[in-house]
């Protein structure tokens, strides 16, 4: 039986096209579900919240969408163990919904992806991320190699993880820090971090390992034709690079 993935559309979402295409190209049975039909979400087995500017980023990025009726379904599903992947604005929504790091009740956010440093403007830049946890710690990353370097694009104005120092210790100590920014060769330093994100954080996972929030976009460097250093003769339409994470997600949804 095929497990169904809903790509949840909010007013202001803008990355649904590449997200849906990549899920399908990685073998996922995925479809778009609209904010005007939240009840339909109940029948899906997993959720992907794509990037964009849901509700215009009013108040804070993700703050309004976290209270949309569609998120009632996503929160309920996550609490029952359904897999949830949020990318960029989707990651911001998961944080505002309190699903990651998930150390407090739902809709009681404890940290934020907030204005970039050092200068708070939108930055579009190619980056790499690597796992800061064992792949098996999160169902969505289980099929990745522990040494995987995932290419992606950061494209946001509010992507810097911020929380109190005590809570940052709790996030790191509790194994919530899923991905950190890295160089292509896997080195981790401040130059790899595009926005002064705390602990070099690019992605967070909840305690149960079924909800993953990732700020940069692996789905925008996910087919051979996206890579500037693609090998000659490679089929340009074959998923690769950032697609590794989506393959792992699809495999976990089917498991």
């Amino acid at each position: 039986m095929s497990a169904r993935i809903a790509v949840v559309l909010f007013p202001g979402t803008n990355s649904e096209d590449e997200t849906l295409r990549l899920l399908r190209d990685c073998g996922g049975d995925a479809e778009l579900v609209h904010w005007s039909r939240p009840a339909e979400l109940r029948d899906f087995d997993a959720y992907v919240l794509p990037g964009g500017f849901a509700y215009e980023d009013r108040i804070r990025a993700g703050a309004i969408a976290a209270h949309d009726p569609a998120m009632d379904e996503v929160i309920a599903g996550a609490q029952r163990g359904k897999l949830v992947l949020g990318i960029c604005n989707g990651a911001q929504i998961l944080l505002e919904a309190g699903l990651v790091p998930g150390t407090a009740p739902a809709r009681r956010p404890t940290a934020a992806f907030t204005h970039n440093g050092p200068i708070p403007h939108f930055v579009c830049r190619h980056v790499y991320v690597k796992l800061a946890i064992d792949p098996s710690r999160c169902a969505i990353t289980r099929a990745l190699s522990p040494a995987a370097i995932i290419p992606a694009w950061t494209a946001n104005g509010e992507g810097r993880l911020a929380a109190t120092p005590e809570h940052l210790d709790e996030i790191a100590g509790g194994g919530h820090l899923a991905f950190v920014y890295a160089h292509a060769d896997g080195r981790v330093d401040a130059r790899a971090n595009p926005n002064e994100s705390a602990r070099g954080c690019a992605g967070l996972v909840n305690r149960e390992g079924n909800v993953l929030a990732l700020m940069p976009h692996p789905e925008r460097d996910a087919w051979n034709f996206n890579h500037l250093d693609r090998p000659a003769g490679a089929d340009p339409l074959t998923p690769s690079g950032g697609a590794e994470l989506f393959r792992s997600f699809v495999a976990a949804v089917r498991a």
Binding site: L9, P11, G12, T13, N14, S15, D17, E18, T19, R21, L22, H34, W35, S36, G51, G52, F53, Y55, E56, I119, H121, F122, V123, C124, R125, W153, A155, A184, H217, E219, R220, D221, A222, W223, N224, F225, N226, L228, D229, R230, A232, G233, A234, D235, P236, L237
Partner: protein
């Protein structure tokens, strides 16, 4: 300078008002005066430019749709048995951006995107050729304009989820009082699913369905505002003529419209669809009806408004953003209304936004507006929308030619390298990354080469297909100041070379002509000369203009016009994106070739400005260019071009340096050893790394192209020439930094 005005806020001249009065046989109403004011403005009517623009080539085998509708269309290729086209539109939003740069530039993107959308296309890219004044002083209005316009473009394009694929920026005192914010948008459409900007056959009685933002008083008088010179005293009043952007609503409106396209195709309905731009509801509905051979009858009381009590002329011609107009068969309209208002919940997305029927298409070719039970406008629709013409006198523009003695022209050898750092740091040569990193380059996941990585951006726009589209822009204002005709020729040649440099075939052009006051014969002469230049270059290269725009009256209070600015975008097509030439040198030891029988003149170049050289603007050598483009195309099809950069701003040595920078950016720390003179002349040509030297030389002979081996890719990350040597890292630093102060 504008003749005596006929009514408050109306820019019609006395002779134009007389003509209206005679035709109507009565005094025109206030609403009619405003309607003719908008329709007959330069912005809408092209009255003083249209007869010159006729000289531009607009037909060719790649042209699916030439100028005339909201956008033009270039043939891209076939996939899955269907033909696909690239929809292209190009506009200016100069005047609004000078007054309120954030909103002015943002609504520039908003408007151009609608022009592409209404052709039935998915919007796939935007580009932004920008011209700003001197930005050195932190507190200057010029710096404020340069920064805020970029922020406006970023805010709008990023929110709607359209990648910024190409663009450029020049900083020149000639734009101190008049910035240029030109915008280009691309869309993708199956050629059998094109939607037209006119009501189709048998459309009499069809509904006119207005969709989008609630009409408000913003943008009233925009068309005639942009057809006047900026006057500082009117600045406050002008601000009211600038529209208010709402990219959040547009994001939803675009997605809802894609859904409507699909629904109409399922039912086999061919609608009429048009963007509301200049002239608002009146201009859009009148043109939609008239170009299909119909009239229209509109009830302004049905328009969804943001505030009550607006005067009928404000509702009719105000230029509120984020609105579109459909002509639909009445039995289909309810389903379309449901998609906008219920599925995509427009009324909840923005105050009183919705789809609403405002009138109908009529058999009789009259244009009627009703308001509170009264007819407030009743005119012959063809008289309202028909071509009007102002044949203004002009003074032929001569290009600058220096005395023979003042021409030190030989390309530089050993003495070039010490100058390279200064040229790389020149404000018009240095990296634009601090500017464009604020733009989303990769949303939609279809990007093959992002903006700034090579001479042109490249996308794979058809899902599941290897077809590629490339986009580049050009137009050097320092050349424009010296020689409007040659500057226009170079803009065409350079834009074409830039798309060729990524392995694409130049397939179509679009232009935005930014000039001074057409009522000043010298300034108007520059416009006429530039049109000549565009026509010549496009004809020589076998390219057609599929769309374009004219922006006149770019002059300051003191009567000083901007440098002649014919800005050109070139669309290139790629049959298989696997054949795209990726940026940067690849293999140590590989030969580097210089391509081009290049003119020796240096007028308008960065080096001429740095060294204070007075010289003529180089004329492109078309026979040589055609041979080079043919060679590049054959060599890239055979896969033997490893890297390629077009020679433009900064000249050949800068092109070499940029190819090395691109390699460094991709993690290949390579250098170059040059054994031939390679300097700063900016006439068109190419720098190439070649994978098979013998085969390349043979192809060059077959194509009749002059290819000169200039050196080789080096293992050591240095540029070496004539015994001198510079570290690539250090050069890259000189090139990367200068704009960071403006765009931190």
């Amino acid at each position: 300078m504008v003749d005596q005005r006929s009514a408050p806020g109306v820019a019609l001249r006395d002779d134009e008002v007389r003509r209206i009065r005679e035709r109507l046989g009565r005094e025109p109403s206030i609403v009619e005066l405003h309607a003719f004011d908008a329709q007959w403005s330069e912005h809408c009517s092209y009255k003083s430019s249209r007869h010159h623009l006729k000289r531009l080539p607009t037909q060719g085998p790649d042209v699916v749709l030439g100028p005339g509708e909201d956008s033009g269309i270039v043939h891209l290729g076939e996939h899955g048995g269907r033909r696909y086209g690239v929809v292209v539109a190009h506009e200016s939003h100069n005047h609004p951006s000078q007054v309120v740069p954030f909103e002015g530039a943002a609504t520039g993107i908003g408007g151009i995107v609608r022009d592409v959308l209404c052709m039935g296309a998915e919007v796939i890219a935007v580009a932004d050729p920008l011209r700003f004044g001197r930005v050195e002083h932190p507190e200057s209005h010029q710096r404020y304009v340069a920064r805020s316009a970029v922020d406006g473009i970023a805010a709008y394009g990023n929110a709607i989820g359209v990648p910024n694929l190409a663009g450029d920026a020049y900083f020149d005192e000639g734009f101190d009082d008049n910035c240029l914010v030109n915008v280009v948008a691309l869309g993708i459409v199956a050629e059998d699913e094109i939607v037209h900007s006119f009501a189709p056959e048998n459309a009499a009685g069809w509904d006119l369905l207005l969709v989008g933002k609630a009409t408000d008083p913003s943008g009233f008088g925009g068309a005639s505002f942009s057809s006047l010179s900026l006057d500082a005293a009117d600045e406050q009043a002008n601000k009211g003529a600038v529209q208010v952007p709402d990219p959040f609503l547009k994001n939803v409106l675009m997605r809802a419209t894609y859904r409507v396209f699909a629904a109409l195709r399922e039912r086999g309905i061919v609608p009429g669809f048009k963007d509301l731009g200049a002239g608002g509801i009146m201009g859009c509905s009148a043109e939609l009806a008239a170009s299909g051979g119909y009239g229209a009858d509109i009830n302004l009381d049905e328009v969804n408004v943001a505030v009550e009590g607006m005067a009928p002329e404000v509702i009719a011609v105000g230029e509120t953003q984020e609105r579109l107009l459909w002509a639909l068969p009445p039995d289909v309209t309810p389903a379309v209304v449901r998609i906008y208002n219920e599925e995509f919940t427009l009324p909840q997305v923005a105050f009183n936004a919705r789809a609403t029927i405002v009138g109908r298409i009529t058999e009789e070719k009259k244009y009627v507006l009703r308001h509170r039970g009264r007819i407030v406008m009743d005119v012959d629709v063809d008289f309202l929308t028909g071509a009007i013409r102002d044949e203004l006198p002009y003074q032929p523009a001569e290009g600058f030619a220096p005395a023979e003695a003042a021409r030190p022209r030989a390309d530089l050898g050993a003495e070039a390298l010490p100058l390279l750092e200064r040229v790389l740091a020149h404000r018009d040569v240095c990296s634009r990354e601090p500017l464009y990193r604020r733009y989303d380059a990769v949303v939609r996941g279809a990007t093959v080469i992002p903006r700034g990585y090579a001479d042109a951006g490249v996308l794979a726009p058809v899902r599941g297909s290897r077809l590629g589209v490339a986009l580049a822009v050009a137009g050097n204002p320092r050349c424009g100041r010296l020689d409007p005709r040659r500057a226009a020729e170079l803009a065409v040649a350079t834009a074409a070379c830039r798309v060729a440099a990524v392995g694409a075939r130049p397939a179509g052009l679009t232009d935005c002509l930014n000039f001074g006051n057409p009522r000043n014969p010298a300034q108007y002469g520059e416009f006429v000369a530039a049109v000549d230049g565009l026509a010549r270059a496009a004809g020589e290269l076998g390219l057609a203009f599929v769309s374009g725009n004219v922006s006149l009256y770019n002059e300051s209070e003191s009567g000083k016009a901007i440098p002649a600015s014919a800005i050109v975008a070139c669309i290139g097509t790629i049959g298989d994106v696997a054949r795209t030439i990726t940026p940067g040198f690849k293999r140590p030891g590989a030969p580097i070739f210089l391509l081009g029988n290049r003119a020796p003149e240096r007028g308008g170049s960065a080096i001429a400005e740095l060294l204070g050289i007075d010289d003529a603007v180089p004329a492109p050598s078309y026979a040589a260019l055609r041979a080079e483009l043919a060679l590049l195309r054959r060599a890239s099809e055979e896969g033997i071009v490893a890297a390629c950069t077009a020679i433009a701003g900064g000249g050949a040595l800068v092109a070499v340096a940029k190819t090395a920078f691109a390699a460094h950016r991709a993690g290949r720390r390579l250098g170059v050893t040059l054994d031939q003179p390679c300097g700063f002349h900016e006439a068109p040509g190419f720098v190439l790394e070649v994978a098979d030297e013998a085969r390349f030389a043979a192809l060059a002979r077959e194509c009749g192209a002059e290819a000169r081996r200039a050196g080789a890719v080096a293992e050591m990350p240095c540029i070496a020439a004539g015994g001198e040597r510079r570290e690539v890292d250090e050069l890259m630093d000189c090139w990367s930094r200068p704009l960071e102060e403006i765009y931190p």
